[in-house]
């Protein structure tokens, strides 16, 4: 017994070190365990687990708990996920303008209701052309006009293609908002309305909350979800499976119906295009033209009136608590 106790102690030390070393990298995927407890509660079930550096050993099952690495803060979030190039494909033929994507996104990011990180537009390019619904997230351009003009490198392009904002560095000059041709960025004009639970979460540029007054925010492609092996929330939340998301390097995209397609095939078969291609921003979001639609086209005459609500009041009425 003595012998085995010694062994577990050394294992425990080893595990702790391994945990510290490996958290940001692979820990979340392996589903690590909690073995810190001093009490040696014995149980019948043993589980075999991996440490981050690949060692195998056995622990009590009731000591295990799911481990998710917190999204990296600031410096870590600037680098991005190695070996990935994230892309989104939005099938306009499948979009019926239900705005579920917007709602999911707002719920997950604790967004004020007037800020739509992914916004569904009713578009009609010319009078003789058909109208269609057009969900528009941030395009995470490969030639981003917004990061170019940032005076303090608060908004940046990562190696995985994602453009993020560091709200702890942003000085609120709004140059990026002027530079973005897609009106994708929002500004925190006043004190953001946030509940205690939200403000208690440590800040990470990967999810953008808790938000700070006087800084810019926008769609972030949900890298904190990707790190957990999940899809961005708008992709998951689309009841039509109209939004595909994946890795360009793998040439694979998946939608909410769990269907995985080859990206190049999807682009080729549907003659995909990118919005305002001639601006040269090289968006990472592709659109499939609204051909053979399954849903009625939007009524362009039915443009909702602009809401005559005062800025502050609107926030208060729909607080997310």
């Amino acid at each position: 017994m003595n012998n085995s106790n010694k062994k577990t102690t050394s294992r425990r030390d080893f595990l702790q070190k391994g945990l510290l070393a490996g958290t940001a990298i692979t820990a979340s995927v392996i589903g690590l365990k909690k073995v810190f407890s001093e009490e040696e509660m014995q149980s019948a079930d043993k589980s075999i687990v991996f440490s981050p550096n690949g060692k195998v050993f056995t622990v009590d099952t009731n000591k295990l708990c799911e481990y998710t690495a917190p999204p990296p803060t600031n410096d870590g979030a600037r680098i991005g996920i190695a070996g990935k190039k994230f892309v989104m494909v939005i099938d306009l033929a499948k979009c019926d303008g239900c705005k579920a994507c917007t709602e999911c996104c707002q719920a997950m990011h604790f967004t004020e209701p007037d800020k739509e990180w992914i916004k569904v537009f009713k578009m009609q390019d010319a009078e003789t052309l058909i109208p269609y619904y057009f969900p528009k997230p941030c395009f995470h351009c490969d030639n981003p006009p917004c990061t170019k003009v940032c005076p303090v490198n608060a908004t940046f392009k990562r190696q995985d293609g994602i453009v993020l904002i560091d709200n702890e560095r942003c000085i609120g000059c709004r140059s990026c908002m002027a530079a973005c041709p897609y009106s994708t960025r929002f500004f925190n004009w006043s004190h953001p309305v946030q509940s205690k639970e939200v403000t208690n979460i440590p800040y990470s540029p990967e999810h953008g909350f808790p938000r700070r007054m006087g800084t810019v925010e926008k769609c972030d492609f949900c890298p904190h979800m990707i790190r957990q092996g999940k899809m961005p929330t708008c992709v998951d939340g689309c009841p039509m499976g109209a939004i595909w998301f994946g890795d360009q390097n793998e040439d694979a995209v998946t939608n909410s119906e769990g269907i995985t397609m080859r990206l190049s095939q999807l682009i080729e078969d549907n003659a995909a295009y990118r919005h305002l291609e001639d601006l040269g921003t090289e968006p990472r979001v592709y659109y499939l033209p609204p051909k053979n639609r399954k849903y009625p086209k939007p009524d362009m005459n039915e443009q909702p009136q602009l809401q005559k609500v005062k800025h502050g009041e609107m926030n208060m009425g729909n607080m997310q608590m």
Binding site: K115, G172, F187, W189, S190
Partner: protein, 469 residues
């Protein structure tokens, strides 16, 4: 024929020195009331700014579409005004125009003050002014905003020197003349600022050399400043800003409003400081011609800026231009084009239009026009993005500055007048030694002309006598 100190009128110099220094001797009640008024407006502006700091920029009328408004428009306007000093002091100095002497100080002061407040405007407009030091910590040279920080900073240091250098001999004069009337502290300031000036030929030579070097340096800096201010806008992909003519267009606009400001400052000091003897109708006529020339250039730039895209009517530009030509902003747009550009051109083309009163009216119209034009450059473009504006709160899609913005902006205007007034009550508003030098030059010319005429008439006499023989 030597021209010595004694030969030109010592009395004249004495009158000049006294006229320039007299306003510094005492502060009248009118000045005190004026100062009190300015401090009040400034204080209110400051109060509103603190209110804005507490509540965030949401206290202004700016929202997500119009994310730059009155503050940025006024920033561009102030930087434009700052071209006045460079124009008069720099360009007229390098082209050796002796008549510039009495108006250089007021022009350089305008540059200094408008740059000071021009630099403050974007900081007021920041969402996080508390993180201003991030510009130093994380500054990126690729950002147009950093170009602005660098260029405006350099221009501010340069124009401060440009203002200060020709003040050195005058400081010595104040130091000597205001003994007894001014407080000890003020005399100490004059003493320090005069840098031990005694007026030796060596000192004069050095000062002249430094001024020449500064002139050569400051002109390109001034051009760069307004060019990079334009680049903040022109480096974006927005219809209305995405224009290759924007740099020179802004420089022309800056010279147009800056030169008009020179005339206004000149007229104000002429009236309040009784400088009619030195600032004459000739000055109005000549500066009026300069403003006319610059307004013509500006009109030409306007033509390029609007006519070229209007001919093609591409999608994005077309939407914006329709709104400017015949939509929401049509009235303001055409008043600006005809009322503040074409009308002054016509007025100033006639000699009668370059008399003080009509010229001052033209210049007031030009300065106000330049300010409103900045607003028309900034705001309508932001309201015409590529993506349609749909289903947003009403105030996102409409912009007019609210009371906070007006108050803070007016506070800045009051600040400009405050600094000018204080400066003018502490330091002479004419470069006395330069005007003296100008008088010397004119005296020399006059003497030279007399000698020339004398010789000519003698020669003619000889000729006639020769002919008679």
């Amino acid at each position: 024929m030597e021209i010595t100190e004694q030969q030109y009128n010592r009395n004249e110099v004495e009158v000049l020195r006294e006229t320039s220094i007299r306003p510094l001797r005492q502060w009248g009640t009118k000045v005190k009331i004026w100062l009190a008024f300015l401090i009040l407006v400034c204080g209110w502006g400051l109060f509103c700014f603190i209110y804005q700091l507490q509540h965030g920029l949401g206290a202004t009328a700016m929202r997500n579409y119009v994310s730059w408004g009155l503050y940025i428009a006024t920033f561009v306007f102030f930087i434009g005004i700052s071209h006045s000093g460079t124009l008069v002091s720099g360009i007229l100095r390098i082209t050796k125009q002796p008549w510039r002497m009495p108006i250089t100080r007021s022009a350089e002061l305008m540059t200094f003050v408008s740059l000071l407040f021009g630099g403050i405007m974007p900081i007021i407009d920041l969402g996080r002014p508390d993180r201003l030091h991030h510009i130093v910590l994380f500054g990126r040279l690729q950002s147009p905003l950093i170009w602005d920080v660098i260029c405006i900073g350099t221009y501010f240091v340069g124009s401060s020197m440009f203002l200060f250098l020709p003040m050195i001999p005058d400081m010595a004069l104040c130091r000597d003349r205001l003994k007894g009337t001014a407080s000890k502290f003020r005399l100490w300031i004059y003493e320090k600022l005069s840098l031990g000036w005694t007026g030796t030929p060596m000192q004069h030579k050095r000062l002249e050399l430094t001024m020449t070097i500064m002139t050569i340096i400051i002109i390109p800096i001034a051009v760069s400043v307004h060019t990079v201010v334009a680049y903040i806008f022109a480096m974006t992909l927005r219809p209305g800003w995405d224009s290759t003519v924007f740099g020179p267009y802004f420089v022309a606009g800056a010279l147009y409003s800056g030169s008009a400001t020179v005339i206004l400052a000149m007229a104000a000091f002429r009236k309040f400081y009784h400088l009619e003897k030195y600032i004459t109708l000739k000055h109005f006529d000549l500066t009026g011609r300069i403003v006319l020339a610059l307004t013509l250039i500006y009109a030409y730039m306007n033509l390029n800026e609007y006519w070229i895209p209007a001919y093609k009517m591409a999608v994005g530009e077309g939407r914006l231009l329709n709104d400017l030509f015949s939509g929401t902003y049509a009235k303001v747009f055409w008043i600006l084009q005809f009322g503040t550009v074409l009308l002054p051109i016509i007025a100033m083309s006639f000699p009668a239009g370059r008399k003080p009163l009509p010229l001052i009216i033209s210049c007031i119209i030009i300065v106000i026009g330049a300010w409103v034009k900045r607003y028309i450059i900034v705001v309508p473009t932001l309201l015409h993005p590529y993506m349609p504006i749909q289903e947003v709160p009403w105030d996102w899609a409409h912009y007019f500055p609210n009371w906070v913005e007006w108050s803070v902006t007016m506070g800045c205007f009051a600040g400009i007048f405050l600094v000018i007034t204080l400066f003018a009550k502490l330091f002479p508003m004419m470069a006395i030694w330069e005007v003296e030098e100008g008088m010397k030059i004119e005296e020399t010319r006059r003497l030279g002309m007399e000698i020339f005429k004398k010789n000519e008439s003698e020669e003619a006499k000889v000729a006639t006598t020769d002919g008679n023989k």
